[in-house]
Structures are given as C-alpha cells and as structure tokens.
C-alpha cells in the first residue's frame, strides 16, 4: 500500500516548531526549577508532530469537544513541553506560562486535567494505557471513529498495569488505540537496560498482539510523522505502538543521556547561554 509521507515543507515547519518548543521548555524550567526537564525534552518532537502535524483532531477553543481525538499523556511528569504547545494552539493564554508553579496558576510541576487540553490525571505512572483502552472500547462500541493516542515513557512500562492493558487492547482489537513510547532508555536511577531491561520491546508488543513500529531517531519530525501516517493506514485491525528512540535531556550539555538526569535541574545561567546560542 502506498502511504503518504511527511513532505519537506511540513518537515521544516514542524522542525522549527519543535525548536521553539524546546526553547520555551527551557524557559519554563528556568522559572520553576522543580520541573522535570530532562524527561520533558525527549518527547518534544512526538508532541509537536501529534499536535501540529494534523494527526490529532482537536478544538483548542473547546478542549472537551466530543469529536476530538483523545491524547492521554501518561508520562505526565515529563510533559513540561506540552505547556507551550497548548498555549500556542490556544487552549489557554500564553501569559499563563509566566505563572508556572505559582499561586493562582494552573500549570503545575506535574500536570492535571484542570489544564485545558489534558484528559486525565498524569504522572503517577502506568495508568494511561488502561484508561485509554477503556476510552477506545467505549468509542468503538458507539461506532465513533476518534482515535486514542497515549504517550508513555519506557521506564513507565515497568508498571505491570500497562501489560494488563496491552493484553486487553489486543483481545478487543482496539485498532483505534495508538501508544507512543518515548523510549529515552533512562529512568530515575539510570539506564532502564540495567534496571529491568526492555530489550526486544517491539517483539514483546508483537507477542502481545500489537502492531509495533520503531522510530530510530525520535528527534526527526518526519520519522515520527511517517510512523504515525503508517499507523493511520495500518490494515491489521490491531492496536498500534510506536517505539520512538529519543534522548533524555536532549540538547543540553551535561544532561543529555546522563544516567541521573531525571531529577537534575539546569542552572539558569546555562539556560540563558543555551538560548543565546540559538539562531
């Protein structure tokens, strides 16, 4: 089957947007140093492609629009980068970004669904796939065509609740469910491969009855976008997973792929320096 690919113009547009989101994420972290920045820099392109690439049916003026596709951000702690995206799209005013983690604001260190655009409680890990599977089943029973996207971390996959949900989704042929794994391969205390290995993750998903795809460069918007396009045209009738290889703390010297980057803050001086170096 011939499948459309992300074209050059779209790729350039999305890359520029991803760069802007990267910068804004650093600015947010400078304002609130308690935020989890390293795990928020690995999924930037995943979210940019989903939200700006035309994959997500959405209505920022009406975040709970019934016909929207649902995006569950299961790795909620690592989605600081979503704040500028949602503000830029009009879910809430850009000025809210100034109030991050401040009294009277609603953008917390870990996002909750009081933030327009967030569907569920996030950050406590291992919940998104199961809730998403329930939503996917509900929509399917109603004959609706909306999709459920769930973004998880790879460390998060250590939670057994995910695997209960993976089995369930395959059993019920939830072809409207797409999971994107931000596979940065580092959890809080080091490389996941040294903690509980995810080796052969794609084969694991396949054995669980899913259609897996792998994106080897998760910071390439066209690679992420093309995998999503393939999912849209996938005739298997199975739930789909895209394992997106990313780099935790991407683009920050000393943070990128550092084993203990999860709770490491970037000093404000370094953020200023990085932003000045940007073209």
């Amino acid at each position: 089957m011939k499948v459309t690919q992300i074209d050059k113009a779209a790729s350039e547009r999305l890359s520029l947007k991803a760069r802007w989101v990267w910068r804004e994420t650093l600015k947010l972290h400078k304002r609130s140093q308690e935020t989890r920045v390293a795990s928020s820099l690995s999924p930037v392109e995943i979210f940019v492609v989903l939200y700006y690439g035309g994959f997500l049916r959405q209505n920022p003026q009406n975040p709970r629009w019934e016909d929207r596709d649902r995006c569950i951000i299961s790795k909620g702690h690592g989605s600081l980068c979503m704040y500028p995206i949602l503000a830029d799209l009009g879910y809430f005013p850009l000025s809210e970004l100034e109030n991050i983690c401040q009294k009277g604001g609603f953008l917390g260190g870990i996002p909750d669904p009081v933030i327009p655009g967030y569907e569920t409680i996030n950050g406590s890990l291992g919940h998104g796939v199961g809730v998403g599977a329930g939503m996917a089943l509900g929509l399917k029973r109603k004959g609706k065509d909306q999709k459920i996207y769930v973004v998880t971390g790879d460390g998060e996959l250590h939670e057994g609740s995910n695997w209960e949900a993976f089995m369930f989704a395959a059993q019920h042929k939830l072809e409207n469910l797409v999971v994107l794994v931000d596979n940065n391969q580092i959890s809080m205390l080091g490389p996941t491969d040294e903690i509980i290995s995810h080796r052969n993750l794609a084969q694991k998903f396949e054995a669980f009855g899913w259609t897996p795809r792998e994106v080897l460069d998760g910071h390439s918007v066209s690679a992420v976008g093309n995998a999503l396009i393939e999912c849209q045209h996938d005739p298997s009738g199975k739930p789909k997973v895209i394992i997106v290889s990313t780099r935790k703390g991407r683009g920050v010297p000393g943070l990128e792929n550092a084993p203990l980057s999860h709770v490491t803050a970037i000093k404000p001086d370094l953020i200023d320096q990085l932003l000045e170096e940007e073209p």
Partner: protein, 328 residues
Amino acid sequence: MTPPPAQPLKAMRDTLLFSLYQAMLEDKEVFLVTADFGSPVIDKIRADCPDRFINVGIAEQNLINVSAGLALEGYKVFAYAIAPFITMRCYEQTRVNLALLSEVRPMNVNLIGVGAGYSYVVSGPTHQCYEDLAVMRALPNMHIYSPADQLLAAALPAQCLKNNGPKYLRLDAQVLPLLYGEKLPAIEDGFHSHRDGERVCLLATGYMVHTALAVADHFSAKGIPLGVIDLFDMHGYSEDKIHDILSRYQGVVTMEEGFRGRGGLDALVFDFITRREMDIQMLNIGVDGGYRFDLGSRSDLHEHVGIGTAAVVEKVERWLTRLNKNRS
C-alpha cells in the same frame, strides 16, 4: 415494624445483579466490567447484553482503568470483583482515575465488592475483608454503600445510576435473613432505625446489623431496650436525622465487621459526634487482634475476634455498668 412478607432468600449479590441486569436491558449506556468473577445473573447479562459486558480477566488494576475510560466516554459503569481485590489490589488506580479524576470530569463508576468481612468464611484472610471500609473511607469523595439486606441491595443500582461519582458497594457473600419487607427504608436517608431504645443505641453496618438485633433481643429480654440503627450509606447519610436520633441516647455502640480503631465505622461515628459536638459516650466493636488464620463457622470466627453476639453482649454489659457508675 410489620414482619417482612415471605421472600425467597438470596445472596445480596444476586438481587443487586438482577436489578442491574434489568437496568441494562433498558439503558444501553450501562456497562458491567468484571475481573473474571461471575454469578448466575452475570451469565444472563453476558448472554443478553454481550456488547456491554466485559471480562478483563484477573486484572483488577485494568478493571478500574478500563472502567474509568468507559465512564469518561459517558457510560455508567459497574465494576465487579471480590471485595478485598476490588478495593485493595487496585487502590491507586481507584484513587487516581476515579476519586481524583472525578473531581474534574464527571463519571459514574460503581465498584461492587462481594465478600464483606468474614463472609468468605473458610477462605482465610486473603479473601476476607476487614480493611475495606477504612481504605475506601480515606477517599473523601468515595460513596460507600454497605447494605445488610438483599432487598436493600437490589435497590442500589437505581440509586447509583441516578448519581455520578465513584461508589463502593460492599456486599456480603452469604445469604442473610431479611431485614426489610416490601417497604424499604428511605435510601436517601442512608440509615434506618430498626428499634428505639432508652439509653444506648447500637449503630451497625452490613452483617453486623443482624448481630446488633440479636444483641438487642438479649438486652430486651432483661428489660433493657437498646436502639438499633442500620447505617447502610456511609457517605451520604442524613446527618441531621441521625443527629436527632442519637441525641436521645447517652451512649452509642458502633458495630462493624472490620478492624477496630483503623478508620472504619468507628472513625466515622467519632468524627460525626465530635463535629456535631454531641454529648454521647461511645463503645467500638470491631475485629480485635489483627490477622488470624482460624477455621470455623462465621459465628465462631466472630466470637474469636470479639464481634460475635456473645462477645458483644459481654462488652456492652460491662460498658453499661460503667455508664451507670458514671451517672450515679
């Protein structure tokens, strides 16, 4: 109260599920999700409503998460499993995706837990359930129903369908004697006063209402009338009405088939009388001594842990003596 008319005795699980079955035939927005736990009525539901019956398998975490997802899509969901598993195996899923999330997004999820207290008599502590009232009460928006009667249990699905929010329905696994006849108590009151007494009222929930009535019979035969209240809604009961009744007493005895002093019914009543600044003494009857692996009848087990009829009679007698001394 007039004696209840002849009714076939059934487990409250069966009467509740039959009401739910009838509701599912009428209302296509009602889902039943089970963690591989069944019953003859469940067989009817899966035969007649196959598109809205889901068995997630032995996977309680997913039971809650899938139920939450369905509810977010507008379905009214009943999740069904053995009581200790549906309350404690998946507690964080319940906390996050039902209790917390329902504060932001309306949802109607009802957890049916079968096997309150010692009702799985010979199955031991894994299947018995003495902590559920405490852990579910710890979630401030969790509505808890704890019926003591099959007809009251049968009335609960309609009540649950009318009201959004997370709810826990704590059901006994055994067939219990009837408490109510054709005329059920007002469910919105959340409690029913079975008997008026003079100085002391027994306030019980679930199976222990039956024990309370037996204890009251004992004292009544000795010329000491005790009040008996069945508190079947531990979240939405009418505070004013129960306050009016308790105000008439010098003492209240809480009776629960759960650990004493760990956050269950006794904590609920203590909080109530403290908040309402009531001048009333309290005696708490609940499971003493922690986990045990004893075998025997339910009544044997109850006597071992201090909640059987004889044990309660003895405790109440001693307490009444002390109350009398304090009064004189």
